[in-house]
Structures are given as C-alpha cells and as structure tokens.
C-alpha cells in the first residue's frame, strides 16, 4: 500500500540539528528546508493578516547581551507572527550587571517555562556553551566575532531570490572580515550551497590563514568587483576597532577611498553586480548613498527576507520540541 502523500512523504522534512548555533553544523539539506519553509512564510507576510498560529504554545526569550536593533526587531516580529509568546531581555539594567553568571541568568528565565532562547552575546561560543547547559532550544543571534547564522541564511536566501540560484554564483565579501561574524557564517553557508566566495579588505582586517576555508583573497577591490556577481559590503565595526591599542587603518576617509564602493567605482565594473549589506550602513564609508539606494541593491530585500527566514528557523526548531505530557 502506498503511503498517503499528505503525511508520510514529508517524514524526512526536518532539521538535523536541535539548536541553530552556527551554519557550520548544518547540512545543505537543512538550508534547503529552511529556504523552502521561508518561501511559505514570505507568502504569509504578504497577506492582509500576517500572522499564523503555529507557535501559539511556545514561549521564546530574546536575550540580547549586546546591542542590536535590526536583528532583535526581526526576531521579535518573526516570533509574534508565529503567535509565540515573547519575553525580551537586554543586559543593560539586568542582574548580569550585578554579577550573575550566564547559566544562572538563563536558568532563571527557563524556570519560568521558556521553550526557546534567541541569544546575542559578545563572547564567541556563548551559544554553544549555553546549549550544553540549559534545557531550551538555542538560536544564536550572533556570538562575538564567531557566527551569525540567521544573517547568513537570509543573505543566501536573498541571493537565491534575486538570481534564482546560489550554486555557482560568485560572491564577494568585502570590508572588515576580521571582526565579522557575518563573514564567517556567510562563507560556510555559501560554500555549502555551492557558491564561490572571495574576500577583499585591508590586510589588517583579514584574518590570517583564512584561505584555509577554501576562499579566494583579493586585495584590490576593483579586481574583486569585476570577478563577482554579488558584492556583500560589510560594515566597518567601529566599536571593535583598535582593541589592542593599534588602529587597523589610518582613517575612515582613507578606508572609504580604497575599500569603499561609490557610484564611480560601481560604474567602472561594467556589469550589474548585486549589492548587499548586512546593515547598519555607514553611508559614505563602505558604500556611498548612491550605491546603497541603487536599483541593483537588495539591502532592503535582505531586511524583509530576514523575518521570513527567522520564522522558518523558529518554526522548524520548534517542531522538534517534544510536547509536554499533560
């Protein structure tokens, strides 16, 4: 007897992981599943009522130990549009500043019956650490300079939407690679989907031995731009510069002249390179206003897709939470 297509055929459609800690842990089928699910949510977001009841019995805590506007709002909207109950927590004014440990903070919140935790933390590995010590599903919303998986997913999703595919696409990631969790997650994600990745930036902002990840490294931005189909212009992370007391570049003005993308440089490429930026933009530094607002820029599509992709991640992770016996 053939199984009913309504249920059994979908039995393998679930994530291979219980937490989203980094893109490194995902298999390509996971990313594909997230994208297909996000397509469904993207359609939901176009409805007059942009809300579905899927996660109405799930409570999610957003723990932001580092400032964020876009990611926090995007996660919160995604959670609310899935009908989850949401509690927000940011480190300023909390007991973290009174010396409580991370595990204690989170366990106190979990004692109030929270099912999932979305966490941003300044320390690399904080999400992995937490996943080993508390009994909730963890979504990494950025851990220091390590990974920012949902950003990489929405970036790749936006490329797929704009160009129809990711496989074989040449993606340039330019700028402050050293301090960027977006860059690392993007490299893993794009490579798993079969894209080619090139990095470009000043050598002081390029991690040593990054070629070992299988990416090309180019110092000359003009050459790199001629090579690529998509240019993801990373933000200079001013708040993370010169931690060791030494500046990584002489001045913002000099950085903008050598590694900034303005309209004149964009026109010199001679083809329609897609412009991306993970935000927030330092206008006039990594990209000029004309380029950020150019017809080939998909910067605002990235923001819009972020909600759908995060809904897909939360939905698929929640599906793996066992139901409480009543």
């Amino acid at each position: 007897m053939s199984p009913s297509p309504r249920t059994d055929a979908l039995a393998s459609d679930q994530l291979s992981v219980e937490h989203l800690l980094g893109i490194k842990d995902l298999i390509p089928a996971d990313i594909d599943l997230i994208f297909r699910t996000a397509d469904g949510f993207k359609e939901v977001l176009g409805r007059p009522i942009k809300k579905v009841p899927s996660l109405r019995d799930i409570t999610i805590a957003n723990l932001f130990f580092e400032s964020s506007t876009r990611t926090r709002v995007s996660f919160e909207l995604a959670e609310k549009r899935l009908s989850a109950d949401v509690v927000n927590f940011s480190s300023s004014g909390s007991s973290v500043s009174k010396g409580e440990t991370l595990i204690d903070t989170v366990n106190n919140i979990l004692a109030m019956k929270v099912d999932m935790v979305v966490m941003r933390h300044p320390d690399p590995g904080a999400a992995v650490f937490l996943s080993r010590h508390v009994g909730a599903r963890i979504v990494n919303a950025g851990d220091g300079t390590h990974e920012h998986p949902t950003q990489a997913l929405l970036d790749a999703y936006s490329i797929r939407e704009k160009l129809g595919k990711v496989k074989g696409v040449r993606v340039l990631i330019a700028g402050d690679i050293l301090h960027s969790r977006v860059a690392l997650s993007n490299i893993f994600c794009l490579q798993k989907l079969g894209a080619e990745v090139m990095l470009c930036g000043p050598s002081t902002l390029m991690p040593k031995h990054i070629e070992a990840l299988g990416v090309k490294v180019e110092r000359d931005l003009d050459k790199a731009l001629r090579w690529c189909d998509v240019a993801n212009m990373l933000r200079i992370q001013l708040e993370r510069q010169g931690g060791d007391g030494i500046a990584n570049f002489p001045s913002l003005r000099e950085y903008a002249m050598v590694y900034g993308l303005d309209l004149a440089r964009y026109k010199r490429i001679g083809k329609d390179v897609v412009i991306m930026h993970p935000g927030p933009i330092n206008r006039g530094v990594e990209v000029s206003s004309e380029v950020a607002d150019h017809a080939n820029s998909i910067i605002l599509d990235q923001v819009q897709n972020g909600v759908a992709v995060r809904m897909a991640v939360l939905y698929l992770l929640a599906a793996r939470i066992p139901r409480n016996a009543v």
């Binding site: 007897m1 039995a11 599943l33 469904g40 359609e43 809300k51 009841p53 996660l55 899935l82």
Partner: protein
C-alpha cells in the same frame, strides 16, 4: 487487503460534471463566486472543476485560487516532522465573494478548520461553502459539514481513502484502503460494487 475502487475514471468524471452543474445552479454566471482549492491535494480537484466549469459555461472562472493551510494546522508538533508548506495563490479580493472551498477528502474536518482560518486571513468573504469529492461520514472531530459532495463513504477508523489524479498519479480513481485483514466491513464491499463504471 486489496484496495476497493470507490470511483473509477468515468464515474469520477461524471461526478465532477455533476458538481459543476450544482455550482452553476447556485452561483449563476459565477460572477461573484471564488473557487479556492486547498493545498496540496484539493487543488488537483479544484483545477479539474475549473476546467469543467469553463467547458460548460464557455467563459473563464473569474476568481480561482489555491490556498496553503500548513501554518494554520492544529497538529504542529503532534507529528514526527513539520508539514512542508505549498504555494498559495490568491490574487483577488475576497470581500463580498461567495467562496467555494475545495478539498478531495473530508475526514476529521481539521484541515477544513485550518483552511477557514487561513482563508479569513485574506479578508471577509460574503459566504464560504465547502465542496469535497469524498465525504467520510461519521468520522468528524469538529462540527463541519460539506455543502457539495461527490460521494459519501461510511468507513471505519483504520481505513483510508486516496484520490488519484491523471496529472499526479497517472490515472483518475478513488480507492478505499483497509489496513490489517482482520476486520473487513460490509460497507467497503458495498461501496466498491456500485462504483465500477
């Protein structure tokens, strides 16, 4: 146990034609009607209905849509894997329209409940009616009743009805499967014998 054929190809096509005539009887020139198939299997029936309505009336069906109910289902986390979403295509305003929701098999009524929920996220239709090819009577878990029915089936819990279509499965037919051979019922035999046109 060998599945019993409830509707063979010719009977199925006659049933679809009859349902179309009923729709025309109730909705006249179909001007304010909206035909909406539920994903994934109801749309196959809805597409047939649309084709047949266009053949009979000689005009295109003015409002036709396909609705995905995945995120409105009530069995999320009750099953091994989350249901995968299908596409929704509803590019007309529901306001004031007489919606006919289309699904292949009506069983517990839960899909239709989810379908109503999903539908109302698009607006406020004047009325909503339900058309199903197969109504498995006496197995409802919610107070939902169909308005247009292709065929009634009295089936027991471990039986299953599958609707196969030329487009997706290679042939048109409706089958009743019985798992486990210990309790064959009188109803599946009776249902089978009257349907082999």
């Amino acid at each position: 146990m060998k599945p019993v054929t409830l509707l063979a190809s010719k009977a199925l096509s006659l049933t679809i034609t009859r349902l179309c005539h009923q729709l025309i009887e109730d909705h006249g020139d179909l001007g304010t009607m909206a035909l909406i198939g539920l994903q994934p299997r109801g749309v196959l029936l809805a597409r047939r209905l649309r084709q047949e309505l266009e053949r009979i009336t000689g005009r295109p069906v003015p409002a036709y849509g396909e609705l995905d109910i995945t995120f409105h289902r009530d069995d999320f986390r009750h099953r091994a894997a989350p249901p995968a979403p299908s596409a929704t295509a509803l590019d007309f305003d529901l306001e004031g329209r007489h919606v006919v929701l289309v699904d292949d098999v009506l069983y517990t009524g839960r899909s239709i409940r989810a379908g109503l929920d999903a539908l109302l996220a698009f607006g406020r239709p004047a009325t909503v009616h339900l058309l199903v090819l197969i109504d498995r009577r006496f197995s409802r878990e919610l107070p939902i009743a169909p308005d247009y029915v292709g065929r009634w089936v009295d089936s027991i819990g471990d039986q299953r009805v599958t609707v196969e279509w030329q487009e997706s499965d290679g042939r048109d037919r409706v089958l009743l499967h019985t798992t486990g051979s210990d309790t064959p019922t009188a109803s599946d035999i009776a249902q089978g014998s009257i349907s082999d046109l």
